[in-house]
């Protein structure tokens, strides 16, 4: 209720909401299933070595628990120098030993190693220095490694099984401690001392709502001040409820949502059709109707989102955006031997071109996208059909290549590499019928596979750039997938009680409350009245 909102503002509480349903008392930071991860408060308690910015991944990170970090052996060995003035919230000092312990923990418990880091070993060099070695060059994983949060050795070493540890009294280096836990609301309160300036927010209240609609209602009424939730028509539902204070900012990360095409079978085994399809999809409509303007559109032809990915875009594609060009598409098709007979497009062999667009039932944004695409290809004389599946079936079909075209996301990382790898890495692909880990569209261009391998192992930036440029060229020319929107690292927030939020003008961090960077945001917040 609005009553709740005024009360929390007055008492200096920051109210965060997430639409994730009731939680259980679980603050194990490693588990995505924990309340800490689901609501995001783990980042107020556990801190990373370095804060990297996913919306500006090419920037160097902000030193956090680590003062300095150095790579050696072509990104196979990392030496970290830790701060010496940091204390755990049980007043024990933080040392490099904790860093070594944490990485060894990840190495030993593969269940906790959600990033799949190939850790070879970690050791404490001194109280302020630790050394971590990897079995492969880790350039592409750099941010994931630096972003890893550190847990206290003195607590965790006595935990019998860290994978089933619910960590109800989390001990971290962050500025907040867990005050109370209820399945609906988790309250954090600020510590008395912290290695930086103490944040101005004395208490943070994380409330879990059961669904997007409840979360939206809470945001609109002011009961929740900060959240990341998908809402259709955010102007009406949120911003217009208090235009002065209700803000929404959805900066793009490097992860994208694309229409994956099955390039190993008809009709999309013909590159001309893939190109033509790419030319008739109106990304503006997808952005506005499919994703309600919340997911930033990806219109650079390379599929690299702006502005996060701008530094990576090859010179020849800078500023080249995908545009709707139905005539152009028809030309491409005609040149490739396609014919329009009556209303129906026939492929060079004379068979009508049809395909199914599949996605899970209930995934409304994807399904809307597919509908838009279905309507768009009518202009080419193609009859497409939107089919829904259960999530399981869809996942299975996606991995085994049993689809024509489907909306799906890509992996993301600190560079566009992960995205390209996800779409084009034939090395991790399998024939149709067997589950593939990458290139589920069965795209198989040896040049692309080689470039991906070379990029990951490249010794220097020049080599990386060469390979990335090549990947972009292949992507643009072969159209293995059609990028449409990016995954935002955004949030809705209210400036009514708290100011200092990141904005497009001051993009010091992504605003999402469940990201590592949320701590950076909270540290900058100030009461609006002060």
């Amino acid at each position: 209720s609005s009553g709740g909102a005024t009360k929390s503002a007055a008492s200096g509480v920051l109210t965060v909401g997430m639409p994730n349903g009731p939680q259980t008392n679980n603050s194990n930071p490693f588990l995505a299933t924990s309340a800490g991860a689901s609501l995001g408060y783990r980042f107020m308690i556990y801190e990373p070595l370095v804060q990297t910015n996913p919306i500006a991944p090419s920037e160097k990170g902000t030193p956090w628990l680590a003062d300095k970090w150095e790579w050696a052996d072509n990104y196979q060995k990392l030496t970290v120098t830790t701060r010496s003035d940091v204390k755990w919230n049980d007043d024990k000092p933080f040392t490099a030993g904790d860093v070594a312990y944490t990485f060894n923990l990840l190495k030993d418990k593969s269940a906790l190693n959600t990033n799949g880091l190939p850790i070879a070993g970690a050791s404490k060099v001194s109280d302020t220095s630790a050394e971590i070695t990897f079995s492969k060059p880790q350039f592409v994983n750099e941010n994931k490694i630096l972003n890893s949060f550190i847990v206290p050795e003195h607590i965790w070493k006595d935990v019998p099984d860290p994978t089933t540890f619910t960590n109800e009294k989390p001990v971290g280096t962050g500025p907040y401690t867990l005050k109370t836990f209820t399945p609906q609301t988790v309250t954090l309160s600020v510590r008395t001392s912290y290695w930086q300036d103490l944040p101005k927010v004395p208490e943070i209240q994380y409330t879990s709502y059961n669904d997007n609609s409840a979360q939206t209602t809470a945001l609109a009424s002011g009961a929740a001040q900060w959240s990341y939730v998908f809402m259709p028509n955010f102007e009406t539902l949120y911003v217009n409820k208090d235009p002065k204070n209700h803000k929404i900012w959805m900066p793009a990360g490097l992860g994208i949502h694309a229409l994956w095409l099955n390039t190993a079978k008809a009709p999309f085994n013909n590159v001309a059709l893939r190109k033509a399809l790419n030319m008739v999809i109106d990304r503006e409509v997808i952005f506005q109707q499919g994703h309600s303007k919340l997911f930033p559109k990806v219109d650079n032809v390379t599929g690299i989102p702006s502005p996060a990915g701008d530094p990576f875009i090859a010179a020849e594609y800078k500023g080249k955006t995908a545009k709707v060009d139905v005539e152009g598409a028809k030309k491409v098709l005609t040149e490739a031997g396609y014919k329009l007979e009556g209303d129906a497009l026939k492929d060079p062999s004379g068979a009508p071109v049809t395909f199914a667009l599949t996605d899970p039932a209930g995934w409304s944004d994807y399904l809307t996208d597919l509908d838009i695409i279905k309507n768009a290809v009518k202009a080419l004389g193609i009859t497409a059909e939107v089919k829904t599946q259960t999530v399981d079936q869809w996942t299975t079909d996606f991995n085994s290549g049993a689809f024509d075209a489907t909306m799906h996301w890509t992996n993301s990382g600190a560079t566009p590499f992960e995205g390209y790898q996800n779409i084009m890495d034939a090395a991790a692909s399998k024939p149709i019928g067997e589950p593939a880990a990458n290139a589920q569209g069965r795209f198989n261009d040896p040049a692309a596979t080689a470039a991906l391998a070379a990029y990951a192992a490249a010794p220097d930036d020049a080599a990386r750039k060469t390979n990335l440029d090549l990947l972009q060229k292949i992507f643009v020319e072969q159209v293995p997938a059609i990028p449409l929107v990016s995954s935002p690292v955004g949030a809705e927030y209210s400036t009514k009680s708290w100011i200092g939020w990141p904005t497009a003008e001051d993009p010091y961090a992504p605003p999402q409350p469940t990201q590592t960077n949320a701590l950076q945001v909270v540290l900058r917040l100030k009461p609006a009245t002060a």
């Binding site: 209720s1 609005s2 709740g4 929390s8 509480v13 109210t15 349903g21 009731p22 939680q23 259980t24 008392n25 679980n26 194990n28 588990l31 995505a32 299933t33 924990s34 593969s110 269940a111 906790l112 190693n113 959600t114 990033n115 799949g116 994978t163 089933t164 540890f165 109370t180 209820t182 399945p183 609906q184 609301t185 209240q205 409330t207 709502y209 059961n210 669904d211 409840a214 209602t217 809470a218 609109a220 009424s221 992860g255 949502h257 259960t390 999530v391 399981d392 079936q393 869809w394 996942t395 996301w409 890509t410 992996n411 993301s412 990382g413 992960e418 996800n422 880990a437 990458n438 995954s487």
Partner: protein, 326 residues
């Protein structure tokens, strides 16, 4: 006695069947909690996590169906329902223990109120058959035909969003710690008004109708006429003779519905973001969380069985005819 023995056998067989169904169902159906989890995170959980999750959930080892079944029973007898995947590594029993009181309180109280109120109106409607009160029936029927999620959403939009008189979501004021203090209880009550009303409105018609029809039927029984002939006050005839007999069939229905409150609240809880077990079950279904599904299903089934047992006992108490002659 024989009646009770038969019932006991029925309960045992049903419980066994239900537990076995619980065990078989998730295993017969396709699906994978890890994939479900990846899908739920839509790109925020990278594909690298897959391997780690299989290890985490212990799905990387295989054992025969029979040995799983036996282990399942063994664990059941120890009261161990396993660990939930969705809320890993929280034990299923804990997840259930945390959510079930909400459902029980909200739905239990609402069901009781609905039954009592509906039955009372039904008694009156049946007694005053042919009067204006008959016009009430189509109206209540209409309300009961509305799916209650729809009614709930409208209620939220009208009473919570537009008017702001009631909270739109949750079980209590965020920040309060559940406990037996007035602040919490009053808040919980306040938060339960809208969901309770919705359930009440859509469920009361059934009771009214059932009771009315029974009243009408019973009203023409000879013993009611005799009661009139005896010159008893009308209230006494209505309650002591007609209603007392007419209510018997409703009792078992009531007990059954008490059992089903655990299972039938999913939509109320979804719509009102209520922290009850229905929503948790739904989450579990979406997440392919077998242990959680099994656990909740088991609880629901047991609740229904217990309610049935209760119905039998109450019936035995209320209807002397089922009691054995002295």
């Amino acid at each position: 006695m024989r009646f009770l023995l038969r019932r006991a056998l029925f309960y045992l067989v049903t419980a066994w069947a239900a537990i076995t169904i619980n065990f078989m169902l998730p295993r017969m159906l396709p699906g994978d909690p890890v994939q479900a989890m990846i899908a739920r995170f839509q790109g925020r959980l990278s594909t690298d996590a897959i391997a780690s999750l299989y290890v985490l959930f212990g799905l990387d080892t295989e054992s025969s169906m029979l040995s799983q079944y036996l282990t399942y029973w063994g664990n059941l007898f120890k009261g161990d329902l396993g660990l939930s995947f969705t809320y890993f590594p929280t034990p299923v029993s804990e997840v259930i223990a945390q959510s079930i009181p909400w459902t029980l309180a909200l739905m239990g109280v609402t069901t009781v109120i609905s039954f009592v109120l509906g039955t009372m109106i039904g008694v009156y409607a049946g007694w005053k058959r042919g009067s204006w009160i008959d016009a009430l029936l189509p109206i209540t029927t209409f309300f009961s035909a509305i799916p209650y999620f729809w009614l709930g959403l409208i209620a939220i939009s009208v009473f919570a969003v537009s008017w702001g008189a009631f909270p739109a979501a949750g079980g209590y004021e965020p920040g309060l710690i559940p406990g037996f203090d007035w602040e919490f209880i009053s808040s919980a009550l306040y938060y339960s008004v809208l969901p309770a009303l919705t359930v009440l409105i859509s469920s009361i018609a059934g009771w009214i109708l059932g009771m009315r029809n029974m009243m009408v039927t019973v009203s023409s029984e000879d013993y009611v006429t005799v009661a009139h002939a005896k010159g008893l006050p009308e209230k006494r005839v209505m309650l002591g003779y007609a209603a007392r007999n007419a209510v018997l069939p409703s009792i078992s229905g009531f007990a059954l519905s008490l059992g089903f409150i655990v299972g039938g609240t999913l939509l109320v809880e979804m719509v009102f973001s209520y922290p009850g077990i229905g929503y948790v079950l739904f989450t579990g279904v979406n997440a392919k969380d077998y242990p959680l599904m099994q656990g909740i299903f088991l609880i629901i089934t047991m609740a229904v069985l217990v309610a049935n047992l209760l119905a039998d006992v109450v019936y035995l108490m209320l209807d002397p005819r089922t009691r054995k002659a002295a």
